[in-house]
C-alpha cells in the first residue's frame, strides 16, 4: 500500500512543487515576455498553464489510485485527456455564472479554464480515471479515508471558492484594469488554491493522528 505511506510532510512537499510550477510560470512570463496578468491576461495565463500542466500531471499520475492495473503512462494519458474536458466544464460553469462571451474574451477564457482544470479536474482524473465511486466519494466527504483525497479535494475546492470570491470586485466602478475578466478571478483562484494546498497537509496530519488514536 504505497498510498498509505504519504504523510503530511510529503503532501506539503508535493504541493510546494505545484506551487513552484505556478511561480515559475509567473516568473517566466514576467522576465522573458515582460507580460503581467493585468496588461495581457491571455498570454500570461497560457504560460502559467504550460508551466503548471507537466508538474501537476506527472505528480498526480505518480499518486494514481490503482497502481497494479494502471501504468504511469496511462495515468499521464488520463491527465492529458482530462485537461480539455475539465476546461470545458469550467468554461461552461463560468459562462453560467456570468463570464463575458464576446469574441475578444475567448482566448483568455480558454486559457483560464485550462488553468482551472489543472487546479480542479486534472489531478482527480490522473488519480481516479473514470471510477465513478471515487469521484462521488471525493465530492461528498462521506468517507474521508484517504490521504490523497485530501490532497485532491481541499486545493480544488479552495480554487473554486477563491475564483467565486474573486468575481465580486468585478461590477464595482473603480475602473481599475484588474477588474476585467478574468484577472481578479484568476488571482482569487490562485490564492484559494494556495490556501487549500497549505491547509490540506494540516488536515492530513489531523486525520492521521485521529486514525492512530483510533487504532490504539
Amino acid at each position: 500500500m504505497r498510498k498509505a505511506e504519504i504523510g503530511a510532510t510529503t503532501a506539503l512537499a508535493l504541493h510546494s512543487l505545484c506551487a513552484a510550477g505556478l511561480a515559475t510560470g509567473y516568473w517566466l512570463s514576467h522576465s522573458l515576455y515582460s507580460s503581467s496578468l493585468i496588461t495581457d491576461p491571455a498570454p500570461t495565463l497560457r504560460i502559467l498553464t504550460v508551466c503548471e500542466a507537466p508538474v501537476v500531471i506527472l505528480l498526480f499520475s505518480w499518486l494514481r489510485r490503482d497502481h497494479d492495473r494502471c501504468s504511469f503512462i496511462k495515468a499521464v494519458a488520463r491527465g492529458l485527456i482530462g485537461l480539455p474536458i475539465g476546461a470545458l466544464i469550467n468554461a461552461f460553469g463560468t459562462i453560467v455564472l456570468g463570464a463575458p462571451v464576446g469574441l475578444k474574451f475567448w482566448p483568455a477564457t480558454i486559457y483560464w479554464s485550462m488553468l482551472m482544470s489543472l487546479f480542479t479536474f486534472v489531478p482527480a482524473a490522473c488519480v481516479f480515471g473514470a471510477s465513478k465511486l471515487d469521484w462521488q466519494q471525493i465530492l461528498s466527504y462521506s468517507k474521508p479515508s484517504n490521504i490523497v483525497d485530501y490532497m485532491l479535494s481541499v486545493p480544488a475546492h479552495g480554487a473554486i471558492i477563491g475564483a467565486w470570491l474573486g468575481a465580486w470586485p468585478m461590477p464595482l466602478d473603480w475602473e481599475r484594469p484588474w477588474q476585467e475578466w478574468p484577472i481578479c478571478v484568476t488571482y482569487g483562484a490562485i490564492a484559494g488554491h494556495l490556501i487549500g494546498m497549505l491547509f490540506s497537509p494540516v488536515l492530513i496530519f489531523l486525520h492521521r493522528r485521529h486514525i492512530r488514536t483510533k487504532t490504539e
Binding site: F92, G93, I95, V96, L97, G98, P100, V101, G102, L103, K104, F105, W135, Q136, L139, S140, S142, W164, A167, P171, L172, D173, E175
Partner: protein, 923 residues
C-alpha cells in the same frame, strides 16, 4: 384550522408593520415639494392691489406695456457658468491658509475686483443640496429648492414646468442665446433664439464644450441682437471628475477659462453697446478635491459668483453693508468678498432685468448684487417732491431697494399662500403663522413710512429681509433636510417586523418538525443557513452603487451558484439529472436577457458604465446565416410559435391537474381564448383583443375566489386540490402579464415556467421527503423572480418603466387605468406570478410519498414557504432601506438609491399583499 389562521394573521400583521415602516421612512427620506404651475404676469402687481405700489408710485402706470414689476437696471446680462467652480478658484489665495496650485488662476477676475471695487464683486455663493447640475440649474432659474420628488413633474422629460426667469424673459420679448452644456436645451427646449448645445455626458472629454463656447462667444459679443447670453463651461467639472482638483489638467483648464474671461472683459470694455451690461461668472455648484459633488458638504456647496459692470457707479457700496472678508490680491491691492445664497440668484436677476419675479421663487433680491447695477441708483420711485430734497445717492438707493424688497416679499407671500392651498404636504401651521406675522408687520411699517414724511428705510429693509430669510429657512428645512428621527423610527419598525417574522417562522418550523417527527433537523438547518447566507450576500451588496446597478447580474450569479451547488449534490447522490442541466442553460439565457436590458439602461443612465459592445458581442452570430430568409422572419415568427407551444402546454397541464370538470372546461376555454386574442393582437394590432384578454383574466380571477368560497374547488386530495387551485390562479394571470410584456412575453413565460419546473424537480436530493419545505428552493424561487424582473427589460429607475405597456389596448390616457397596466407590467412577472405559484413548491406531481399525506403537514409546509418568501423579501428590503439611509448624502442618492428604495418598498408591500391574498385563497 388554527394553522390556517396563523398564516393569515401573521401576513396581516407583517403587512401592517411594513406599511407603517414604509410610510414613516418615506416621510423622513423622500423630500416632497409640489410644483405649482402658476406663472407671474406683468399685470399681477396692479390687479392684485399689491400693497407696495399705490397708483402714484408706479413710474409708468400710464405706460401699460411695462414689461416687469420693477424698472430694468441693466440692458444686458452675460452669464458665464463654469461648472463645479470652487470658491477658492476665484477668491484671492490670501484668504486661505495655504496657497494651493489651483488658486489665483482666474487672475483676470481678481484684477477686476481689485481695480474696480465699486463696480465688481466676488461672492461666495452657497448652493443648496442636491449639488448636481440638473437640480442646480433648475434652482438657479426658478429660484426654488428642487427635491427628489417634485410632484407634478412629468416623468419622461426633464423640461422645467415651473415659472422661471428664462420663461419671463421670453414673454417680455427679450432675446436669449445659449451655448455650452446641453442640459439647458433639455430644460428649456423652445426658449432660446439661438443655442449651441454640446453633449455633457462624456466626462472624459475635457475640451469639446469649452472650445465650442469659446468659438461662439466672441462673435456674439460683437453682435447687438441679444439681451441675455448664457455660456456654460463644463471642462472644470470634467477635469475634476477625472483628475481631481489638485492636478495639472485642472490648472490648465482654469488658465484656459481665464484667457477666455480676459478676452470677454476686454471686449466689454471696448464695445459701446456693452457698456450697461452685467457680466456674471458663476458656478452651479462646487466640488470636493476629488472632483465629486452632489452632497451637502461645505466643499460641494460653496461655489462662487463674480459680477462686474463696465460702467462705474456713483459711489462705493461697500460702506452700506456688513464688513466682508478681504484679502490681498495678486497685484497687492485689497479684494473683498461677500456671501450670498444661490437661492437669491433668480429673483435678483429678475429685478436687474426688470421682469416679473418667477412665481415659485423664494429668494431675496441680493442687495450687493442689486447695488452693482447703475440703474438701481436712479431716482425711480420717488415722488416729484422728493427731487428737491438734497438727499444723497445712498438714500435714493435705499428707497429703491426697499421698494424692490416690498414687491419681493409680496411675491413670496403669494407663493406661500398658494402653496399651502394646493400642496400635498404643506408647512407646519405654527411656522406659517409666525411667517405671516412677520410679513404683516413689515407691510404695515412700509405703509406707515410712506404716509409719514420720514423714511426709515433701514428698518423697512431689515423687516422685509427678516421675513424673506425666515421663510427661506423654513423652506430649506422642509425641502432639503432629511428627518432623521422619522427615518430611524421607520427603520426600527422594519427591524421589529423582521423579528416578528423570524419568531413566527421559527414557531411554525418547530411545529412542523414535531409533526414530522423525523430527525432531519440538522440537514434542514444547514439549508436554512445557506439560504440566509445568500440573502446576506445580496443584502450587503446594496451598500454599493455599482452592485445596485448590477443587481440583475448579481442575482443571476447567486442563482447560478445555487444551481451549480445542486448539481454537485446530484453528483454525490447519484447522477446528474436532466433538469439540472436544463436549469443551467436557462440561467445562461436569462443572463443574456439581463445583459441586453443593462445595455438598454446604459443608453439612458449616465452612472452606468456598461460597455455592451465588448460584453455582449454576438454580432458574429447572425452573419453566419446571412442570406437566408428565415433569419429575417425568425423574430416575427418565433413569438407565435412559442405562444402556440405555451397554450398547448398549459391546456394539457390544466386537463391533467384540475379535477373538477366544469372548472377544467371554463379555465381551458378561457386560456385558449386569451392566447388566441393575443395572437390576433400581434397579427392585426386590433385594440379590442387586449381588452378581451384583460376582461377574461379579471373574470377568471374573481371567479376563482367565488368558487373557492362556494366550496366547489374543495374536491379531491389536499395536494391535488392545492395544485389545481394554484394552477387556476396562475392561468388567470399569465395571459395578461404575457401580453403586457410584448413580443418577448412568450419566451419569458416559457423560460420562467421551465425554470420553475427545474427548481421544483431539483429540490430534495433524497434527504427530505417530497412535501417538506426546502429553504434553498424558496431562495432560488426568489432569485429567479429578481432575474425575471431584469430580464424583461425593467430596472429600478423611473425611466426603466416600460411606458409602452400601459397603452396596449388603449389609445387615450387615463391615469388610473394606465397606472394599473403599468403596475401589472412592472411587477407581474417578478411578484404576482412567482408568489401565486409558490404552492407548487410543496406539491410535487407524481411523487409517491405525497399521496395520503396529512393535511396539516402540507399546510404547515405551505405556511413555511410563504413565511420564508416574505422573510427573504423583507430582509433584502430592510437592507435597502438601511443602505439608503447610510448613503443619503451620496452623489447618486437621487439618481440611484432613492429610486431603488421606491421600487423595493413598493415591491415589499405588494409581496405582503399578495401573501395575504394567497393565504386567503389557498388556506
Amino acid at each position: 384550522m388554527r394553522m390556517r389562521m396563523r398564516l393569515k394573521a401573521a401576513a396581516a400583521v407583517v403587512l401592517c408593520l411594513h406599511c407603517l415602516g414604509v410610510y414613516l421612512f418615506t416621510r423622513g427620506f423622500l423630500l416632497t415639494r409640489t410644483e405649482l404651475s402658476a406663472f407671474s404676469l406683468p399685470s399681477d402687481l396692479l390687479q392684485a392691489q399689491a400693497p407696495c405700489c399705490s397708483e402714484s408710485d408706479l413710474p409708468s402706470t400710464t405706460d401699460q406695456d411695462l414689461p416687469g414689476w420693477t424698472p430694468p437696471t441693466v440692458d444686458r446680462v452675460l452669464i458665464l457658468i463654469v461648472d463645479a467652480l470652487r470658491f477658492d478658484f476665484v477668491a484671492p489665495s490670501s484668504l486661505f491658509e495655504t496657497k494651493q496650485k489651483w488658486m489665483d488662476r482666474l487672475s483676470s477676475l481678481q484684477h477686476l475686483a481689485s481695480t474696480h471695487p465699486s463696480s465688481s464683486r466676488i461672492f461666495k455663493a452657497i448652493a443648496d443640496p442636491p449639488t448636481t447640475s440638473l437640480q442646480r440649474l433648475k434652482a438657479l432659474t426658478t429660484g426654488g429648492l428642487p427635491t427628489f420628488i417634485d410632484v407634478g413633474n412629468s416623468f419622461a422629460a426633464p423640461a422645467i414646468h415651473e415659472d422661471n426667469w428664462i420663461h419671463q424673459l421670453l414673454h417680455t420679448g427679450r432675446r436669449l442665446v445659449m451655448m455650452g452644456d446641453d442640459t439647458w436645451t433639455q430644460l428649456f427646449p423652445h426658449h432660446f433664439n439661438h443655442s449651441y448645445p454640446y453633449p455633457s455626458f462624456n466626462v472624459k472629454d475635457l475640451h469639446t464644450v469649452d472650445n465650442g463656447v469659446a468659438h461662439h462667444l466672441v462673435p456674439w459679443l460683437h453682435r447687438q441682437d441679444w439681451d441675455v447670453l448664457i455660456g456654460h463651461f463644463l471642462g472644470v467639472d470634467h477635469a475634476g471628475h477625472i483628475f481631481g482638483v489638485d492636478s495639472q489638467p485642472m490648472v490648465q483648464k482654469l488658465e484656459q477659462i481665464n484667457a477666455i474671461l480676459q478676452n470677454v472683459t476686454d471686449i466689454m470694455n471696448s464695445q459701446k453697446h456693452l457698456e450697461n451690461t452685467m457680466l456674471i461668472v458663476m458656478g452651479d455648484h462646487a466640488q470636493t478635491l476629488n472632483g465629486d459633488h452632489g452632497g451637502g458638504t461645505s466643499e460641494e456647496v460653496e461655489t462662487c459668483l463674480f459680477a462686474w459692470m463696465p460702467r462705474s457707479l456713483p459711489s462705493s457700496i461697500s460702506s452700506i453693508f456688513h464688513p466682508s472678508t478681504c484679502g490681498l490680491g495678486l497685484n497687492g491691492k485689497n479684494i473683498c468678498t461677500s456671501t450670498m445664497q444661490q437661492l437669491d440668484f433668480a429673483v435678483s436677476i429678475s429685478a436687474l432685468l426688470g421682469i416679473p419675479f418667477p412665481f415659485g421663487s423664494i429668494g431675496r433680491v441680493n442687495p450687493e448684487l442689486y447695488a452693482l447695477s447703475p440703474g438701481s441708483w436712479d431716482r425711480q420711485w420717488l415722488p416729484a417732491s422728493f427731487y428737491e430734497d438734497p438727499s444723497s445717492d445712498l438714500k435714493t438707493w435705499k428707497n429703491n431697494y426697499a421698494h424692490v424688497l416690498c414687491i419681493n416679499s409680496w411675491q413670496v407671500k403669494r407663493y406661500i399662500d398658494s402653496y399651502s392651498a394646493t400642496s400635498v404636504m404643506g408647512f407646519p401651521s405654527d411656522d406659517l403663522h409666525y411667517i405671516t406675522k412677520l410679513y404683516n408687520e413689515a407691510q404695515s411699517r412700509w405703509s406707515d413710512s410712506k404716509n409719514s414724511s420720514c423714511k426709515p428705510e433701514n428698518d423697512t429693509i431689515d423687516e422685509f429681509s427678516d421675513f424673506l430669510l425666515s421663510f427661506a429657512t423654513l423652506a430649506r428645512s422642509a425641502w432639503t433636510e432629511f428627518d432623521l428621527k422619522l427615518m430611524g423610527v421607520g427603520l426600527g419598525i422594519f427591524i421589529i417586523s423582521i423579528m416578528f417574522h423570524l419568531f413566527v417562522f421559527e414557531r411554525v418550523h418547530s411545529l412542523s418538525n414535531v409533526y414530522d417527527n423525523k430527525t432531519q433537523k440538522s440537514s434542514n438547518h444547514l439549508q436554512i443557513y445557506v439560504a440566509f447566507l445568500l440573502v446576506a450576500v445580496r443584502a450587503v451588496s446594496f451598500l454599493s452603487n455599482s452592485y445596485i446597478l448590477a443587481e440583475g447580474r448579481v442575482a443571476n450569479f447567486l442563482l447560478a451558484t445555487t444551481a451549480i451547488g445542486s448539481i454537485r449534490s446530484s453528483l454525490v447522490y447519484g447522477k446528474i439529472k436532466k433538469h439540472d442541466l436544463v436549469f443551467l442553460i436557462l440561467i445562461i439565457l436569462i443572463r443574456f436577457g439581463i445583459e441586453k436590458g443593462m445595455s438598454k439602461q446604459a443608453a439612458t443612465n449616465p452612472f452606468l458604465n456598461y460597455d455592451s459592445g465588448s460584453d455582449f458581442d454576438l454580432k458574429w452570430l447572425p452573419s453566419l446565416f446571412e442570406g437566408h430568409d428565415f433569419v429575417t422572419l425568425l423574430p416575427e415568427i418565433s413569438p407565435m410559435i412559442i405562444l402556440f407551444l405555451l397554450s398547448f402546454l398549459s391546456c394539457k397541464y390544466i386537463t391533467c391537474t384540475v379535477h373538477s370538470r366544469y372548472i377544467k372546461w371554463v379555465v381551458t376555454v378561457g386560456t385558449m381564448l386569451s392566447y388566441s386574442f393575443i395572437a390576433t393582437f400581434w397579427l392585426s394590432e386590433r385594440s379590442f383583443a387586449p381588452k378581451m384578454v384583460y376582461v377574461i383574466g379579471l373574470s377568471l380571477f374573481v371567479l376563482n375566489f367565488v368558487l373557492r368560497y362556494l366550496g366547489i374547488l374543495e374536491k379531491g386530495e389536499t395536494v391535488q386540490r392545492l395544485r389545481s387551485l394554484a394552477l387556476v390562479m396562475v392561468s388567470a394571470w399569465s395571459p395578461t402579464i404575457l401580453i403586457l410584456l410584448g413580443k418577448q412575453g412568450p419566451f419569458v413565460v416559457l423560460v420562467c415556467s421551465i425554470a420553475g419546473w427545474s427548481i421544483i424537480s431539483s429540490k430534495n436530493k433524497g434527504l427530505l421527503d417530497d412535501c417538506k419545505m426546502d429553504p434553498i428552493s424558496v431562495m432560488q424561487w426568489s432569485l429567479l423572480a429578481i432575474c425575471l424582473f431584469y430580464q424583461t427589460g425593467h430596472w429600478c429607475t423611473f425611466d426603466g418603466l416600460r411606458y409602452g405597456a400601459a397603452f396596449i389596448g388603449f389609445d387615450e390616457f387615463k391615469v388610473v387605468r394606465q397606472a394599473i397596466l403599468l403596475f401589472v407590467d412592472t411587477f407581474g412577472i417578478s411578484h404576482i406570478l412567482p408568489i401565486f405559484s409558490l404552492p407548487f413548491l410543496v406539491t410535487i406531481p407524481n411523487s409517491s410519498s405525497s399521496k395520503g399525506r396529512d393535511k396539516t403537514v402540507i399546510f404547515l409546509n405551505l405556511t413555511q414557504v410563504y413565511l420564508l418568501y416574505g422573510l427573504i423579501t423583507a430582509i433584502t428590503t430592510t437592507f435597502t432601506v438601511l443602505c439608503v439611509a447610510i448613503q443619503r448624502r451620496h452623489l447618486m442618492v437621487w439618481g440611484l438609491f432613492a429610486p431603488k428604495y421606491v421600487f423595493d418598498a413598493i415591491g415589499l408591500l405588494l409581496t405582503d399583499v399578495l401573501i395575504c391574498v394567497s393565504a386567503l385563497y389557498y388556506c
